[in-house]
Symmetry: D3
């Protein structure tokens, strides 16, 4: 009987109630206003939390339990509907505060553009930052129909910010010809179609470096993630994505933050996408949080 | 930025954070294991809270705002899956404690059987209790296929407990012939098909009495509440149900508790049923809570 | 334990197991191949039977129980996919046999064209036959894009067969200008938009006559019947349709057969359309079968 | 602006292929980036056009056929995702051009904010303009969480632009207390809950005046329009909304433009909302276009 | 024309009408009242039968046709809603009777707990019984939130009943740490993540032994079985599960009964889960029934 | 036949507005009236076009862009509902005209029977024609329940027309025993279950020959194509189907026409099936059109 305090209704399963004592912080970035196709990812974080109640607290992959890691769920960052610039500023400010408190940021989108201010803030703290990016799409546009703030641009922005050679994209199967050319000409790594095998090759080269990992759920085939804005055939399986998370966990890189974006629940009656996202986040917590040095 | 305390994620909009200071308490009873047709109402309370974020805090009907009433959201009562008796005992115990603290109980189902232990507890505190029951179904069975604990029995149980002449059912359009006969022979009131007009006739006869109001969302026509276990054509409109709530608010009866049950979100992609339920609860809070003497 | 005979899985609730002893026969006509908009009504009869398990066996409207009437469920008539003419011939042959055994035919569609061979067969037995037709659409076309066998034509066909002045349409809100003109010029009755009130005026004029009643579920507003091929706003409520069935039950006409068509389950996740159809059929059984003289 | 040739894409049924010869122009405004609850109305116009193929071309209400009116479908106005100000500017520019060619503008939303630039442009041409507004919500906020460009503000903006006493809202059932007070204090008309009866009283007072009519589909009860961003119980029926359109058609006001907004197809598997919208638009074309003087 | 007997509406395709002559018996166990997450599997058996009409009667894998095996469909065992103990007793009694008649039991769930009384009854007849278990979950809990009768416990119960070393689980990817430990400490076999390869290794060690095979549909990845209570990413493909069924068919073990559980149709609009289940059952019939000695 | 001007309706992304200048012609064949299970593929072509707006115009697989190929979208061929023979005649006539203009035909179904008149017309122009057929089903029946025009017969028809040894089926996992026998006895090639590997073996044997490729979307596993009439477990992945298209593109065969059939959007809320189909068509355009000599 919870009579002594407000009901803590919808937090990611096993979240720690105390911010100070927590090593990591989970937060939602419920923005979807620049997407060019199907909106709805603003509801991703809330649904991922809701279905996390069905998760086992133990990972049979990593042989660890959620109670071994302290993470605080800060809820969804309130963002002004329809104002991308102000939204990104609020997110960046939020992340600066998290990093000032030395917390591991674990974000849930929302559209992929929300990763841009997070990566920028993380790059300020870790000048030697590298980015691992798993996605169906390049996200390397300079602008979309005249708008520089678009869900198609975040990787271009961070690549220009920290240098394209520090950005590693995996699983890419869609983009404009110019985007692939830009990457090639600027020394950015793109592994087309596959994730696990090329990732295993790249990881040793990043040993010891601080790395931020950003995962767009649509790197999965639509069979495994129908609930997303842009479904694109020919993706990887959830088994492969899990294995990729584990490969990072077992590598010598220093994960300093991460996010999982673009879960749009309305397109998936079965809620498999949100359930899968909650499982991926469990593995990210168990495998990555304590890698940070 | 909520860094100082755990994120209070999914509570009914504008819930008060402090139990002691609150006049009313909202709680979920996520049980659906005795239903004979379609299960799923266990997820009703969580979804009603989630969509309540879309509600206006002001009622244009009652000219009142939610901040005028203090109510605490106690979350869902944890109930043991598949064990009706233990579940009902836990609910009854919960309500006794609420009443001991002089709180107004406002419950969300779950299947209709959850109302039985609540009404029993309320009847102990208010010996002169009357019941107002809005529903498509009589719910007057003694048992269902041999089970005395069934979603088809709660009104029979409370009628036998406080006397059938103290129970008033409205909007009933389905039941067994024997149920209607039992009601007739035992002096229980049943208004078939209609709610608002017969209710207006009955209310003056209950003036000054403590009354518990139990509403099965399926009193609404399936057009207005597709997300419920048993959809039954020929029901009332949501406009009529709102007017019925307002008629009670304007009457001289003393509402001492209430519930809204049987919202099963999975059958309603549009979520209109949960949204409607959240609006009904707002009107119940604004119209009924402070009637209690 | 049903070890002695095959499991009778999906029949309309309380169907009688014996054909000879039954007064009425329920049958499905799972054809949807001439529809011009959304197909899917071929699955209507099976789904109506399936959800009928959730029906009360007692009608609180008519104060009768299903066990008071003996009706046999003959299943779905096997029809050759994509061959309208052969399908209609098979249906007509089926009805002739039913009528030869003096059974009351109660059909479930399927698209509305299936009513044409049934009405033709019934008209052969009852030369003085009148038709009561409830529908959103006139269905008075001579052909549809060159095809004389179309779901838009059945009322035209029967009107030409038994004389337009013997056909009474109610609730009509859509059709071609030419269809309304044809009806007017040929003395056929059309009540636009409304059913109950005009029906009450017509019924006394048909006293004593044999009448076949054909109901397209889309006479209901889409709010009440989203699961149909052609949803058309501005229809009647299920409360009004139930009252119309009861008005016929209490009239002096001689109902000699009836059908309910165009339930297409796939467009209605809540299954309210199929549930409503099963309730309507219960009322048709209880109110109409024994009117036959 | 595709004024010189037929739009190559999905068009509303019976659209005229030639812009110059057309009296009215239909266009979509596929913007949903400022909504505070559920997005998705960007796909409304395309789906309304798609399902219009299922419409009868004749109105049994008005006894007119679509071929009696020439209207051109200009397609969806290309709008920059996530940039409300630029989107509104583009819309306003589009409308100025339409009005310069003396076309009757008939817009499809999109969120309600798109009506603001349209009404502003129309007010420039018709200084004596009045607004008839049918909606569940007041839409009278000055800003929403700090954003002056929000789907909650369009009626406030036009009311301040042309004077609150020239704005007439009907069917309103939700809003902030302050919004209702602002309307009252400033002489703006609000009819709560009802549309048809108060509209019939107001229409004669507007005789001869140019009037723009803006309809938010959520003025309908969720039973009749589940496919919209904010479902709000207690609304009117589609029958009542059709009758309201016809009341305007038969009045002496001079309709000079109109829109229908907030159809969000994803929340409505049955597509009844888009089908209803297409029927409403047919009636608006047949009843209103030629009223313009 | 089926005039001479009741319509045998919803049986598994090609079921034999005579119990005595049949070698195997198919039956449904429509219970879902102890599930801790999403209910709905009570409707699994009915939907599997319904969609089996779409199956080819020939297996291109096994080169056999359904008419080569006689199996009787006994329908769903009537179970008392909300009473797990009585339900399990009824199931156990049913199986004892089947086994007394020397029938091969082929059950459809329903939640996984229904397998417990079946396995217990089969173990009584075959003292040397081994269990092959394919599932995403260990199902090895002693109790769930205080309830010993839970969908999380059936494998623990049978393991304790026949000895853990006689139980072989495959495809397991979720469970509590304690469950995996219990298995390890007690000599029970668990193959994590994979099914086909470890199964091929185990099968020869079981040669000649009587084996009961219980398959939880969620051993499949959610991509292949979205319609189940607990969707858990990282599962196997339907191709792999089919191959696993065939590996058993070609082995030297003696399959003496089997079940397929946890199909919950409401979460899968496409009905692929029920269709897949019906195909799996066809292969189980063709590959396993006649292996029994 | 709208050959003289751009189709006024929804077109496939980047379609060329001029028929004469185009090398290929895309067209829909919206027929589904002979299907024996679930209808709805009549809406496949329209939905594929609609979602094609979300496609990248560049193929990262083939390193080509859509603007490198000129293709005209002729819209859907108007077909008479419910009349298979007339529909097939209209299609055949349409194809003869296309071929007379030396256009590459790229058709979208619709049920698979629509491929029969196309293949017949193509065979007339290319007497040495071979067929590559990817499907879950043999489609080799002579008739279905007495109907020679059935979605189960098109491959049989073309095999008899051009000789069974010229027909190569891949991915087949369902059919009647007799169909497999007929293929074997008549020298027709069937690769069961797999596509890519056997295709790579066959392609060199067809070098230089004119080949028509017909793909039933259900060759994909239901996980990858839930939106189709007959979902059949055990299929290939979209990754494998893409690779098969690319294998053909890189081979020495001469593709002279192709189609993709059986997309039925209503069964797939996520629209992944239509999105996948649009991507497959992009690859077919980029990889196959200019192979024609």
């Amino acid at each position: 009987m919870r009579f002594d305090e407000a009901y803590s209704g919808n937090v990611f399963i096993k979240s720690h109630p105390n911010f100070e004592e927590s090593e990591a912080v989970i937060y939602g970035m419920p923005m979807d206003w620049t997407v060019s196709y199907r909106p709805g990812s603003r509801f991703g974080p809330a649904r991922i939390r809701e279905v996390s109640i069905g998760l086992e607290e133990y990972s049979a992959y990593l042989n660890r339990e959620l109670e071994e890691v302290k993470y605080f769920d800060a809820g969804d960052i309130p963002l002004p509907f329809g104002n991308p610039q102000r939204s990104l500023d609020i997110i960046e400010d939020f992340i600066h505060k998290l990093l000032a408190e030395d917390k591991f940021p674990l974000g849930m989108g929302g559209e992929h553009l929300v990763s841009w201010p997070v990566m920028k803030a993380v790059a300020k703290k870790y000048p030697d930052l590298a980015i691992i990016h798993m996605d169906a799409h390049t996200d390397l546009r300079e602008e979309y129909e005249g708008e520089p703030l678009s869900h198609s641009t975040p990787i271009r922005k961070i690549a220009e910010h920290i240098g394209p050679k520090n950005v590693y994209s995996f699983g890419i199967r869609s983009g404009m010809k110019e985007e692939f050319q830009w990457a090639k000409e600027n020394g950015m790594h793109i592994s087309k179609f596959e994730v696990l095998e090329p990732l295993k090759e790249i990881l040793p080269t990043l040993a010891g470096r601080p790395v931020y990992v950003t995962i767009d759920i649509d790197v999965l085939d639509p069979a495994h993630a129908p609930g997303t804005g842009t479904v694109d055939a020919g993706g990887i399986t959830s088994k492969e994505l899990l294995a990729s998370i584990h490969a990072i966990a077992q590598s010598d890189i220093n994960v300093v933050g991460c996010d999982l974006v673009e879960v749009a629940p309305i397109y998936d009656i079965s809620e498999q996408t949100a359930n899968t996202a909650s499982k991926l986040i469990r593995e990210m917590i168990l495998g990555w949080v304590q890698k940070r040095k």
